[in-house]
């Protein structure tokens, strides 16, 4: 009962934000530049939340998330550009392809722990990137031209869906199992929790939504290139999650929004952007070592519903 109430609060909250922005867009007060930032923000939130389920909930330190984004981006682009499928179908293809890639990568690598897992996932992401770099069918290093199909609506629905699925997973019995792995894997094993299974499930769900984000991204930028999905992109996503607070969904949402705004205003000075990024990270880690939100959710502050606030 309590759960379904929170669910409706979340849906109404999402609808309100959507309506406000939509009215502003059709009223003309948000030009293409701001719309683009909003879409970028949505993509970053999806990436952050999809990595949050892997690192924040299950405690598996994966730093190859851009690889799954790349899979989603390329497969959906192939679907629309080369096969002429509708955009919605392409989004699903991108997400499913990334999910399969996550399953494939997850089963062997999730036996590893800590640093070893981080290095292995990083390696896999690079392999994915280099595979795309060497396939002429998708344009190789020159990249692939993609028509702009993403609208604010697609991006926002993507965010709502991502948060809904991942917060439901977290609050379920399965989520409890995953959190217990983060807390103490040996104890979780000893309690009879199938740790390998939950690690792979969380990793795959994360990959699916990273793929969806990638698909939305590829149809927003006119061109996709393998270099976009290098390890720096993985680190960008990691920064959202760590800055927001490991284990806090609303934290990663807030951090993604905040850093998108910061980097949008600094986009003319890419070098400065990285310096500010680093400075922000150092300051947060010094004064709030557990991230902006720690493991708490924004709902703990207000005591209603769930979902991270938005500063749109």
């Amino acid at each position: 009962m309590k759960k379904s109430k929170a669910f409706w609060v979340y849906i109404i909250f999402a609808l309100v934000i959507y309506t406000i922005v939509q009215v502003m867009i059709s009223g003309g007060s948000l030009d293409l530049y701001y719309q683009n930032i909003l879409i970028q923000m949505c993509i970053n939130i999806m990436l952050a939340v999809s990595l949050h389920i892997v690192i924040g909930i299950t405690g598996q330190f994966s730093i190859g998330h851009a690889g799954f984004m790349a899979v989603g981006a390329y497969f959906s682009a192939i679907a629309t550009m080369n096969l002429g499928l509708p955009f919605t179908v392409a989004l699903i293809i991108g997400a499913v392809a990334a999910g399969l890639a996550g399953l494939l990568v997850g089963i062997p690598t999730l036996r590893l722990k800590g640093d070893y897992l981080a290095i292995a996932t990083l390696g896999f992401a690079e392999i994915i990137r280099i595979v795309f770099l060497n396939i002429d069918y998708v344009g190789g290093a020159a990249g692939m031209v993609v028509t702009n199909m993403t609208t604010w609506t697609y991006a926002f629905v993507g965010v709502v869906l991502t948060i809904l699925v991942i917060s439901n997973f977290t609050n379920s019995r399965h989520g409890r199992g995953a959190i217990s792995i983060r807390e103490d894997e040996i104890a979780a094993d000893a309690m009879g929790i199938n740790t390998t299974y939950y690690k792979v499930v969380a990793f795959t769900i994360g990959a699916i939504f990273a793929g969806l984000a990638g698909a939305i991204y590829s149809h927003n930028f006119f061109i996709i290139q393998p270099t976009t999905f290098n390890f720096l992109k993985s680190f960008d996503i990691l920064i959202y999650v760590v800055l927001g607070g490991l284990g806090s969904l609303s934290g990663s949402v807030i951090a993604a929004i905040f850093l998108t705004i910061v980097s949008a205003y600094l986009s003319n000075f890419p070098e400065t952007r990285m310096i500010i990024y680093s400075l922000v990270l150092i300051l947060v880690m010094l004064y709030r070592p557990t991230g902006l939100m720690g493991t708490k959710e924004i709902t703990h502050l207000f005591k209603f519903g769930k979902k991270g606030g938005s500063k749109v």
Binding site: I179, D184, A190, M191
Partner: protein
């Protein structure tokens, strides 16, 4: 109830358990004593499925369980309290207990069992909403035991419950182990505190560098010169 026949366990190249055989009978308290690195915890981890033996068999209630997954072993009634307590520290006491019953589906009796654990460890009841990471060492040990009991085990594997605790708390914990045993749970207790362990156990095994070197009733071992010299501090 539990029969371990000639198992060998390896960590990579390291031969940790060499041809180990032990037996635990229904409703006994059996203790396994030995120095650091002797292989006590390795044996427990092998029993609960966290490690797989390279050779040998483990039979439990006349079923072979070696090589089975940890979760099916827990389901069959073996519950392991790992060394160093390992509570889920960002969760409350109650959530820890609920996770102990993870494989059970009977909601009503889970509630009843949580109440039972609070009866056995009243301090946990007082702190049910507290984050378990903020409990004292002794309370965490009690929570780890309570959590294992939530799986309704027939056989409880305890890995050094006295580790790092004050003598008074150790005494309390051992009294509770006896109580749990009297309520019908068989206990296999791994300890360094040989004196305490032998005082509550029915039978005991002594393990040294991966081999069982002595076995007998707890009384016999308490009198044995070898054990006295090595573990009890002979005068």
């Amino acid at each position: 109830m539990l029969k371990v026949n000639n198992i060998d366990v390896f960590y990579g190249n390291i031969h940790a358990l060499k041809d180990v055989s032990i037996e635990v009978k229904e409703s006994e308290i059996v203790t396994l004593i030995g120095a650091n690195g002797a292989g006590k915890s390795t044996l427990l981890k092998t029993l609960s499925g966290l490690l797989k033996p390279k050779s040998g068999t483990i039979s439990y209630l006349s079923q072979q369980i070696n090589g089975k997954q940890a979760q099916s072993i827990v389901k069959s009634g073996i519950s392991h309290v790992p060394e160093g307590r390992r509570v889920f520290s960002n969760m409350t006491v109650e959530e820890n207990l609920e996770l102990g019953a993870y494989l059970r589906k009977d909601r009503d009796s889970i509630k009843k069992d949580i109440a039972n654990v609070y009866e056995l460890f009243p301090i946990l009841g007082e702190r049910r909403k507290q984050q378990s990471g903020t409990l004292s060492g002794g309370e965490q040990q009690m929570l780890a035991m309570g959590r294992a009991l939530m799986a309704k085990p027939k056989l409880l594997l305890l890995d050094e419950p006295s580790m790092g605790l004050a003598p008074l708390i150790v005494k309390q914990i051992f009294e509770i182990i006896q109580m749990v045993n009297q309520q019908g749970t068989t206990v296999l207790l791994v300890e360094q505190n040989a004196n305490m362990a032998l005082s509550i156990a029915d039978r005991a095994y002594v393990i040294e560098t991966g081999k069982i070197v002595l076995s007998g009733t707890a009384k016999e071992l308490q009198e044995s010169e070898q054990v006295k010299a090595a573990y009890l501090g002979a005068l």
